[in-house]
């Protein structure tokens, strides 16, 4: 039965090549547009830490004064210097990373070598295991390195390639902000997108070139900014040269909590800390805490650009228009074959057979459209990757998405074919055969 329908479908294509080609092309273009945009959205929407995204959490507390006109209800994203220190020392048990970012002047120890500003992440030892940072050479620094303000540095593969030609540079030295640092690790290219741990400079972009122990970094002779500095009150510039300003938040903090019980306990700890600070007179507001895991945090921060969501909606709208187009053309195609259908019905084919035949033909057109559309999806994504948008370079095609594209094309066109097929099945054999 299916084989026969298939054969008839192919015959039908040949009879009406132009109309069939038009339909295939329309479905292909629709699939090309919709799936390219969907792939972009899917890439931007993904979990950047799939192995433990729900165990890595971002604590927030609210140290702002009670009376702050125009302030949002949600607590600030980052911590003040004093809260960062307090929270970091309060919870010794869990894996945690205190951090911030800026750029620092760096040069090699070779005399006369040029100074360059390099993007820097200052963090604590928990950063590397918590975020599964892979190492090419060497390893991360230790808890002791953090406490004794060791002058050690982990560098990116890219910087290692540039300065040392990709050789194992562990043990060699660099001059960072006029101080001598020993390289203890080189990380492999690592840059999950969106880089959830720091959304300050956009959610999609390059990773830092050097990683320094947080407390060592804080004590460097420096005035190169302190990451996402944000100060409330009259003077938004209060923290520009002073990271310890009480009214400025900038320290980013992440903790790893492995069980729901630990998460609950940590949330309680944040509330207790807020109450305690309130009692001490430092905090004015009632405890206002947040503790988001990676995906919650990304949703809360709306990292996916609105325009990308809108683009995807519009692209699917275009696909729907393509399908509407297909319905019209399928209707024309089936009704045009009224004579053939009438003869088949007169020879004993049931309505159901005609219906199935037409639906199969539609699905086949959809599948063909999907097949033609796949290179278009690929082309569309290639074009998008060429665009100078921060997220574009990281957009990748996954084989699974291509399978989805094919399925979507076939199923959607099949659905589009149902109504025309039903109309075709209703053709009264007697009338048609008489008019032949």
């Amino acid at each position: 039965m299916f084989g026969y329908a298939f054969k008839l479908a192919l015959r039908g294509f040949r009879r009406n090549t132009v109309l069939t080609a038009l339909m295939v092309l329309a479905v292909a273009l629709g699939i090309g547009v919709a799936m390219s945009m969907f792939t972009v959205l899917h890439n931007l929407d993904g979990n950047p830490l799939p192995q433990r995204g729900d165990e890595v959490l971002h604590p927030q507390i609210d140290p702002r004064p009670a009376d702050l006109p125009g302030a949002r209800r949600a607590p600030p994203d980052n911590l003040t210097y004093i809260d960062a220190l307090n929270l970091y020392h309060l919870d010794q048990a869990s894996r945690r990373a205190l951090m911030s970012a800026n750029w620092l002047p760096l040069r090699s120890t070779v005399a006369g070598s040029p100074l360059r500003m390099e993007t820097t992440r200052a963090t604590t030892h928990g950063f590397f295991p918590m975020f599964d940072v892979p190492f090419q050479y060497g390893a991360a620094w230790s808890a002791q390195d953090d406490t004794r303000r060791a002058q050690v540095v982990v560098i990116s593969q890219k910087l290692n390639d540039r300065l040392f030609g990709g050789a194992d540079s562990v043990g060699r030295e660099l001059i960072i902000a006029t101080k001598l640092f020993r390289i203890i690790g080189v990380i492999k290219s690592w840059n999950p997108q969106p880089h959830f741990w720091d959304l300050d400079d956009g959610a999609y972009g390059a990773a830092a070139q050097i990683y320094l122990p947080f407390f060592t970094w804080l004590e460097l002779p420096q005035d190169y900014g302190y990451g996402p500095m944000d100060c409330w009150g009259d003077n938004p510039g209060a923290g520009n040269h002073n990271p310890k300003a009480a009214q400025c938040t900038w320290a980013q903090y992440w903790v790893q909590l492995n069980t729901p019980a630990q998460v609950r306990a940590y949330r309680d700890l944040l509330v207790r800390y807020s109450q305690q600070q309130h009692a001490l007179g430092r905090f004015q507001r009632a405890p206002n805490v947040r503790l988001d895991d990676v995906m919650q945090w990304l949703n809360y921060k709306h990292v996916v650009p609105v325009i990308v969501r809108m683009q995807t909606w519009i692209a699917f709208g275009v696909f729907v228009i393509c399908l509407l187009n297909a319905v019209g053309l399928l209707l024309a195609k089936f009704l045009r074959r009224g004579g053939e259908i009438g003869v088949r019905r007169a020879l004993g084919a049931r309505k159901r057979d005609v219906f199935a035949q037409c639906v199969i033909e539609s699905a086949l057109i959809g599948l063909l459209g999907g097949i033609v559309g796949l290179p278009l999806v690929w082309l569309g994504l290639w074009l998008i990757r060429q665009q100078p948008v921060s997220y574009a370079a990281t957009v990748q095609v996954s084989p699974l998405l291509l399978v989805y594209a094919l399925l979507l094309a076939a199923v959607a066109t099949l659905l589009a074919g149902i109504w025309p097929a039903w109309r075709a099945a209703r053709i009264a054999p007697a009338l048609v055969v008489k008019s032949l």
Partner: protein, 402 residues
């Protein structure tokens, strides 16, 4: 020639294809809705790309020279400005913020105790020669005089505000001589000495983009790292900027030159994401139009095939080729017009949806009109091929087929 008598066969034909006609009308309406809204989004974003900042951007270049703390450096801020001033081809040089880079918003108050908050304009702070380097246009009052420039921790600074901010703060009154108070430097005051035509800190499309205050402060022998600015003679920037950057680095061995950019490059960098998105949206629009044209043309060509015998009969009964051509064109016009009527409503409906879901602004009605025109044109173009084919059907077809 009675134009309306020729409409009768069209309507009787359309009545026989109710289903297909309905689909076509729907398709055209949806295409029009998407087209109008996409064009509106793209056009709004392109208009921002061409919004002026109020500085002489074409001739301004920025040198980001970062002082390495802890490294001895012979250069001084005042010395560096003088040095840049003397580079051949430089008209003016200074140190300070530029639109898109450095200028950020600060709350300003009506009173020195910072109780009555007035606005949060962009604060452009720079050294001597700053206003001249930016090339802002003064439309009332004057620039601060050389001798009244304060040092960095003065209590009262002479400053300029933009016309937009002046109209907001002092409607129908002269802003000259009035005082504003800033939260920074412990409530420093600004005495307004001049009004600038325009100066935008960034371009987001909001009215507050153009609320700006410009302050000049005298810098002396301090060693300053940050944004040094030059304005070149018209059209000379490409040649002059590298020379200036080199001279500055040579005089400041304790600095790192990190970025040397023209204002045009900064602007391009700011907008490159938006223009990429515009390209993507335009590509979607083009594909949409292609698909709809395929649908209209495909169905028309199917109808022509189906009605070959009728066409032959009409031709045999004396209809001219032109009449047949016009029949299909008029048919298309009627279908598209129905689509346009529905499409106008859908365009506005989609806009309302986008306003709610994606905080888009309201769509002006010109886009509906433009969408309608585009649909009529698209329909006529798509139908032209099949209609010409129909016109070529010989009258003898009627006899042969019967």
């Amino acid at each position: 020639m009675k134009p309306f008598s020729s409409l009768r066969p069209i309507f009787s034909a359309l009545r026989r294809h109710k289903a297909a006609v309905t689909l076509l009308v729907l398709e055209i309406a949806l295409t029009m809705a998407v087209l109008g809204n996409l064009l509106f989004i793209v056009n709004a974003s392109m208009r921002l790309e061409h919004e002026r900042t109020g500085v002489m951007g074409r001739d301004i270049g920025v040198i980001q020279s970062i002082g390495v703390i802890g490294t001895p450096n012979p250069g001084t801020a005042a010395g560096n400005i003088d040095l840049l001033d003397r580079v051949p081809g430089v008209v003016a040089a200074s140190f300070g913020d530029v639109p898109f880079a450095g200028a950020s918003t600060y709350p300003v108050y009506a009173d020195p105790d910072l109780h009555k908050r007035l606005a949060a304009p962009y604060l452009f702070e720079g050294a001597q020669g700053y206003a001249k380097t930016l090339g802002v246009q003064v439309i009332a009052g004057r620039l601060p005089r050389e001798d009244e420039l304060p040092s960095s921790n003065a209590k009262i600074d002479p400053g300029l505000i933009t016309q937009a901010l002046a109209q907001r703060l002092y409607p129908q009154q002269s802003p000259l001589g009035r005082m504003l108070y800033l939260g920074q430097h412990g409530g420093g005051g600004v005495r307004i000495v001049g009004v600038m035509r325009e100066l935008r800190g960034s371009i987001t499309g909001r009215n507050s983009d153009g609320d700006s205050i410009l302050l000049e402060t005298r810098v002396g022998n301090q060693d300053f790292g940050g944004l040094y600015l030059i304005r070149s003679q018209p059209g000379q920037l490409k040649r002059v900027l590298p020379l200036a950057a080199k001279a500055l680095q040579k005089a400041n061995p304790g600095h790192v030159t990190s970025r040397v950019m023209t204002m045009a490059q900064i602007r391009q960098m700011v907008f490159r994401g938006a223009s990429a998105i515009n390209r993507i949206l335009m590509a979607i629009t083009a594909i949409l139009l292609i698909v709809t044209a395929l649908g209209v043309g495909g169905l028309a060509s199917f109808w022509v095939q189906q009605r070959t015998r009728h066409i032959g009969t009409r031709r045999a009964l004396g209809a001219t080729r032109g009449a047949i051509l016009r029949h299909f064109q008029a048919e298309n016009l009627i279908i598209v017009s129905m689509g346009v009527a529905l499409g106008a409503a859908l365009t506005i409906g989609l806009n309302v949806l986008l306003m709610q879901r994606f905080a888009q602004p309201r769509l002006p009605l010109q886009y509906v009109a433009f969408g309608a025109l585009a649909m009529w044109l698209l329909g006529q173009l798509a139908v032209l091929g099949p209609a010409l084919r129909a016109a070529r059907v010989p009258p003898t077809t009627a006899m042969r087929a019967a």
